[in-house]
């Protein structure tokens, strides 16, 4: 499914590194779920942190509809430079994931 933030997040570089490792399908699925979970909660946290209690409820209602245009219109009205903020937290997380990958690769296996 295309999430409202998918177009802002570049995960190719992480996936490319993961793909170089000797992983079974189960192992891939497991790591992928952890990665997506971290990314998803990190992005939601960054957004929620910029919204009032009332706006959080409205945002959740838009999420339920999964209407990306409505979601972005709302977020752009409520949060300055919201896209940059999402990109920033995603990049910070990705940098950490790359560090983890580098360490893992030293373990040969």
């Amino acid at each position: 499914m295309t999430l409202f933030y998918t177009h802002l997040i570049e995960i190719e570089s992480v996936i490319e590194e993961l793909d170089k490792m000797d992983l079974s399908k189960e192992e891939k699925m497991h790591l992928a779920q952890l990665l997506d979970s971290s990314l998803h909660h990190t992005i939601l946290d960054a957004i929620f942190s910029q919204l009032t209690e009332e706006d959080k409820k409205t945002f959740v209602a838009y999420l339920q509809e999964n209407e990306h245009k409505k979601i972005w219109k709302f977020l752009q009205e409520k949060i300055d430079d919201v896209e940059d903020k999402i990109k920033k937290v995603a990049k910070d997380l990705k940098d950490n994931l790359h560090k983890d990958l580098k360490e893992a690769k030293k373990l040969h296996g």
């Binding site: 499914m1 793909d19 979970s37 909660h41 946290d45």
Partner: protein, 290 residues
């Protein structure tokens, strides 16, 4: 984690990324406890939408409305039962009576018109064996990793690989900059159809080529009722393969045919959608099966 691994690199990532995922989850839920408490007391759907994507093609329905998706799933099983009563066990072209019965049933159940013939053009058959295809290059410079919308997508679909050549109609977009979400959907949910075997193809090559390009189709696994709206994105497979059509990795997953031999019998029909209103992807039946 319901499996064991002795690979040190995997174990390292498992530990590190489990901790990161737990911290991100806990931070989110503790930082916004008040708003989320309100949600938790609301709908199941509200809770699910705050969960990350799992790469399961049925998830969009769950996120939109878990209750409806579950109802849809049950009805798809009923659809499978209804189809089993109309189809012979042998995978062969449908006779006119079967065609009529089945397109009426499917049109009724999915809420849009499906048909064996549009603009005077028919396929060679509408009941056949589908096999798993590879991803297709979507624009110059595309690569396999770029196909994944999230890492669960990569884990689920990257093993299929990417076809060395282009699809029958070339790239889906002339460049990455011009590549739209709609183009992405076309490659994600594509079928390879033996368009070259359709009656009249050789005599009307240009007309048929243009007609088939990205033509919208309904594809149904009659054994399970799992179904998808797809487009014709490639021509094939060759007759000698014994298969009658191909499906993208995502389509095979939606149809429940992504594991094992990656093939199975499916029904496939044109969708009459001149205004392009029916979205691509997994689909559930809309009404009770009679």
């Amino acid at each position: 984690m319901q499996f064991k691994s002795k690979k040190p690199a995997f174990e390292h990532l498992h530990k590190k990324w489990s901790a990161r995922a737990r911290i991100a989850h806990d931070n989110f839920w503790s930082n916004h406890a008040n708003a989320l408490k309100h949600l938790a007391l609301g709908t199941v759907g509200g809770l699910i939408l705050l969960s990350p994507p799992q790469g399961n093609p049925q998830k969009p329905n769950l996120i939109a409305s878990s209750e409806n998706a579950l109802k849809g799933y049950d009805r798809n099983v009923l659809l499978a039962k209804a189809l089993s009563e109309k189809l012979s066990s042998e995978v062969k072209p449908l006779n006119p009576e079967e065609e009529k019965d089945i397109i009426n049933l499917l049109s009724d159940q999915f809420g849009f018109k499906v048909t064996t013939e549009l603009e005077g053009i028919r396929l060679n058959r509408n009941y056949g064996l589908i096999g798993g295809e590879q991803h297709l290059y979507r624009y110059p410079g595309d690569n396999l990793y770029a196909h994944a919308q999230n890492s669960a997508d990569w884990a689920r679909y990257s093993d299929a690989g990417i076809a060395p050549g282009l699809g029958a109609w070339g790239y889906f977009a002339p460049s990455k900059n011009e590549f739209t979400q709609k183009d992405e959907g076309k490659e994600r949910y594509y079928l390879a159809i033996q368009t070259f075997l359709s009656p009249g193809f050789a005599e009307n090559f240009a007309k048929y080529r243009d007609f088939f390009k990205y033509r919208k189709m309904l594809v149904v696994n009659p054994k399970t009722g799992q179904a998808a709206v797809a487009i014709i994105g490639d021509a094939g497979p060759a007759e000698f393969t014994g298969k009658h059509l191909g499906g993208s990795p995502e389509i095979m997953d939606i149809l429940g045919l992504a594991e094992g031999p990656r093939k199975g019998a499916v029904l496939y029909f044109f969708i009459d959608d001149p205004k392009d209103e029916i979205p691509l992807g997994p689909i559930s039946v809309k009404s009770e099966v009679s």
